[in-house]
Amino acid sequence: MSRHATRWVAYASPPNLYRLAGRLVPWFATSAGLLLALGVFLGLFVAPTDFQQGDVYRVLFLHVPASWLGMWLYLLLGFYAALGWIFKARSSSMMAAALAVTGAMFTGLSLATGSLWGRPAWGTWWVWDARTTSTLIPLFLYVGFITLQSAIDDPRRTDRAGAVIAVVGLVNVPIIYFSVQWWNTLHQGATIRVAGETTMPGSMLTPMLIMVAGCWVYAIAVVLVRLRQLIHRRESIDGGLHGS
């Protein structure tokens, strides 16, 4: 058992991580391409027209995966940042930094696709309700993290400062979500939303799952590439990656 543990811990060293990431990227990239292509095709052309919402619901095949990924990538970011801070592991901190841009991208997409769905579905581009506001806030958390890291030159301070803001953000996310819910229940009365999470028939569920999987695989591929670039840039500054 400890031999397995030692094998995995070896990947915490940047050169090994660089190589591992490099080997994984092609698999994830091609899978992403296939899954996304399949998902888009099914979502646009094969899934049946919904009885109530017509064809507009197809935007959900993008909106749901984007929302999921936006949220989960932030959790991962916080996790890796905390790990890097506690164990002084550069690789973990770099992983957090690599996750940030992709997470922000998906959160932004979630907001955009949400608006593009909301406009035809209930007439407004934006609704100030708990769900939309709860997606807007993580976008600010991402942007704050990215901006902070880009303002700092020293890599060690970048890692640690990023970790502080990431962990503080992460701890605050449930509190913020709760307060937004509270705010929303206080100010009810605007539009009454039809519950979004209705059970989907199988013909609609399949494209959804494929899109979620495809987006995840895409995210992993992209994050691993960015991680490799970070490792390369960092370790060159520190004196070159010495293979081992």
Binding site: P15, Y18, R19, G22, R23, V25, P26, L36, V40, L44, G54, D55, V56, R58, V59, L62, H63, A66, V101, T102, M105, G108, L109, A112, T113, L116, W117, R119, P120, Y218, V222, V225, R226, R228, Q229, H232, R233, G240, L241, H242, G243
Partner: protein, 47 residues
Amino acid sequence: MGHDGVYVWTAYALTLAAMAVEVAVLLWRSRSGRVDVVPGRDLKRER
């Protein structure tokens, strides 16, 4: 797809464009940084 189809197409185009831009930026960075996106070379030999 009816006149609401423009929203669907916009959403899909936007998503694919965002992903394409992200990938393009990464590829462009590798070119100028001389880092392999797809590995074929060990870092040692790059030096």
